[in-house]
């Protein structure tokens, strides 16, 4: 520290201290980054999100639970739609429970004949058979998945990464 300019000397020491701190700090963060990043997987060995489920005539009228994919396929004459079986509350699998008799329901200002509803075992959420949550803690309607027909072999293709709205129908 020079005698006549003590302030300059102090600030130099201060600067070097700060610099050391910053270099160590940034170095630590940069050094940890590879370790942290490695915990976010780039490749997942999970079942595909888009898959074939068979030709349309393999499914009869009504509701089918595709257990492997945790989803429900609905057939109404020549129109098909697919609803997720994963409860929007905490991810349990919902169960379809048919009514003893069809009921006339008005959901989203549309009146239709409903054949049953979905119940969730974990916290008792209930959904209409078109997915709308009406009881229990579920915050959202069940997801609807996009359905396509495969141009190669005419099988139904479910695309779970594409959500569609509740008016979607695939007519074959």
């Amino acid at each position: 520290m020079s005698g006549d300019k003590p302030v300059e000397g102090e600030s130099r020491r201060g600067f070097i201290t700060k610099l050391t701190g910053w270099v160590l700090g940034i170095g630590f963060v940069a050094g940890s980054w590879p370790f942290i990043r490695s915990l976010f997987p780039n490749v997942l060995y999970e079942p595909p999100r888009r898959f074939k489920i068979g030709t349309p005539d393999a499914f009869q009228e009504g509701v089918h639970f595709l257990q492997d994919h945790r989803m429900f396929l609905f057939r109404d004459g020549s129109s098909f739609h697919a609803i997720s079986g994963v409860c929007t509350h905490l991810g349990c699998t919902v169960k379809y429970s048919p009514f003893k008799q069809d009921q006339e329901l008005t959901v989203r200002k549309l009146t239709y004949e409903s054949a049953g509803e979905f119940h969730c075992a974990c916290h008792g959420s209930r959904f209409r058979d078109e997915g709308t949550n009406f009881s229990g803690p579920a915050p959202r309607p069940l997801n609807w998945y996009q359905l396509e027909l495969s141009p190669e072999d005419g099988q139904l293709v479910v695309n779970m990464s594409e959500e569609v709205d509740r008016d979607f129908r695939l007519v074959v």
Binding site: P41, G91, C92, T93, H123
Partner: protein
């Protein structure tokens, strides 16, 4: 009278010299490798069973039991989704005493969660989180370390829950991690990070395994050591404060000692602590060895015996192998999360995120909100504390039962069928009502008594009641489809899915 044992060949391994009197034995604690972390003398009051119930010791002993039994289990288990379940099956049916190891580990884990909770209740109710007057004391910080230890204990138990890879494990973790997903904005990312993917799978199993057997025990051990070191630095258990107060009122005595013990041996000269008139008087205390050590030994043996006996009668259940396609009905989280699951049944956001967040933050902040120094180490502090403990308990009882009744009798969505806003149902729910009743209780008791300690006692007692009641409801009174059943009502029979 000498309480010292004769020194045998084994004794020479641990003692560098043989104490000739009780006094010397007490001092010798410092010179002993195994005992050096105890004070050389300990007050009679802090040895009292009525004061501490030795719950901290019991928690530590349980942790040791879990570590030892866990190491054995590690030899007999592989964290792979194809194999894990079958290793557990082998433990139960093929490995000699495998069933016993599992039961010891499981019952030990449940007891540890319970012991840690009870330990926290005890520390709160005796006001042992208060700073006191010893030099260098910082009990509030030690309380925060304790809250951290509680969280680590819960997380350890939760990660262990997945490892058997049966239906119980799989769905408890699915529900538990989905609670984390209800955090606004980053919930999905948190869940994906915990699971290592979009669903509970191999990535999740190996993550939970490594956390369970290595990372969390390591962190817990480090913080537990810190926690116990702080007890010494804070001047011992909080009840000692009462002795310090009494000593300070006494006439000053002969000049202070001229030497003091440090961890490394005898330090020459005096220290601040020695000159402090609040230093514990020798007539109030006894040598740690054997008075403290024998008690600790007795508590250790008692804990061991209880765990071993319970392991003989309480089975460790194992359901069918994990099947992502079939949700058991009802699907329940581990018991200590069932109070939370009950609240999550009303609203995932309020019950799963807001309330646990506020509770944890509130717990950690208790010693900073309540800085009153009167009655440290006394159960419920004083007469007003006892009265408000009763008021808080009754208040908690009424509001918890009330909120439960509203949740069961008047589901919000059925009461307001025309409203579609999710935020409305999150905010207007029995969970919010319960939270508000606690806030009201805190401020009313604070206003009436103008004592932060009394307000804390009232709120904490209400919290204990709510915690116990909600846990009980979630555990015992919730059946298939999470419907409410009284204990004497039979659950409807469920079709078994294939």
């Amino acid at each position: 009278m000498s309480l010292l044992p004769k020194q045998g060949a084994l004794g020479r391994l641990f003692w560098s010299w043989r104490p000739q009197s009780d006094r010397e034995a007490g001092e010798a604690v410092v010179a002993n490798f195994l005992l050096h972390w105890f004070p050389s003398r300990v007050t009679l009051k802090s040895l009292s069973l009525k004061y501490s119930i030795y719950l901290g010791t019991i928690s530590l002993v349980l942790f040791c039991i879990l570590t030892v039994s866990g190491v054995f289990l590690m030899f007999l288990y592989v964290p792979s989704v194809e194999r894990a379940y079958w290793w557990i099956k082998d433990l139960d049916y093929a490995v000699s005493f495998g069933w016993y190891l599992r039961r010891v580990h499981r019952i030990g884990a449940h007891l540890m969660v319970a012991a840690v909770f009870l330990h926290m209740f005890r520390v709160f109710l005796t006001g042992a989180y208060k700073r006191g007057s010893a030099a260098g004391s910082n009990r509030p910080f030690n309380w925060v370390l304790g809250v951290l230890l509680l969280v680590l204990t819960l997380f350890l138990s939760f990660t262990g829950y997945l490892l058997p890879w049966d239906q119980l494990a799989f769905w408890a973790i699915t529900v538990g991690t989905n609670i984390a997903a209800s955090v606004p904005w980053i919930g999905d990312e948190i869940r994906q990070f915990l699971l290592g993917g979009n669903e509970v799978g191999q990535n999740t199993l190996i993550r939970f395994y490594v956390l369970h057997v290595f990372f969390l025990p390591l962190v817990l051990t480090a913080i537990a050591i810190w926690h116990m070191w702080r007890i010494r630095k804070d001047g011992g258990l909080a009840i000692v404060e009462q002795l310090r107060i009494r000593n300070r009122e006494r006439a000053p005595e002969a000049p202070a000692k001229t030497k003091t013990w440090s961890v490394l041996g005898i330090a020459s000269g005096t220290s601040v602590t020695v000159l402090d008139p609040g230093t514990v008087h020798e007539t109030d205390s006894v040598p740690s060895s054997p008075f403290l050590t024998t008690r600790l030994l007795a508590v250790t043996v008692a804990t061991l015996v209880v765990v071993m006996l319970l392991a003989l009668v309480v089975p460790a259940p194992l359901e069918e192998a994990a099947n992502p396609e079939v949700t058991p009905n009802p699907a329940k989280a581990p018991w200590y999360f069932l109070g939370l699951q009950e609240l999550v049944g009303y609203s995932a956001l309020v019950g799963g995120v807001l309330i646990p967040g506020i509770v944890l933050l509130g717990l950690a902040l208790i010693p900073y909100l309540d800085r009153e120094q009167a009655g440290i180490g006394l159960w419920l502090t004083d007469k007003s504390g006892r009265r408000w403990a009763v008021i808080g308990t009754v208040w908690g009882l009424l509001w918890t039962v009330g909120s439960l009744a509203i949740g069961i009798k008047f589901p919000m969505r059925e009461a307001f069928p025309s409203i579609e806003s999710q935020l409305f149902f999150d905010m207007v729910s029995p969970a919010t009502l319960l939270l508000l009743s606690f806030v009201v209780l805190y401020f009313v008791s604070l206003k009436v008594t103008s004592s932060s300690r009394t307000a804390a006692i009232a709120t904490f007692c209400a919290f204990i009641v709510a915690f116990v009641l909600l846990t009980w409801t979630g555990t015992m009174l919730r059946g298939p489809n999470w419907q409410f059943f009284w204990p004497w009502e039979a659950w409807p029979r469920q079709p078994i899915p294939f």
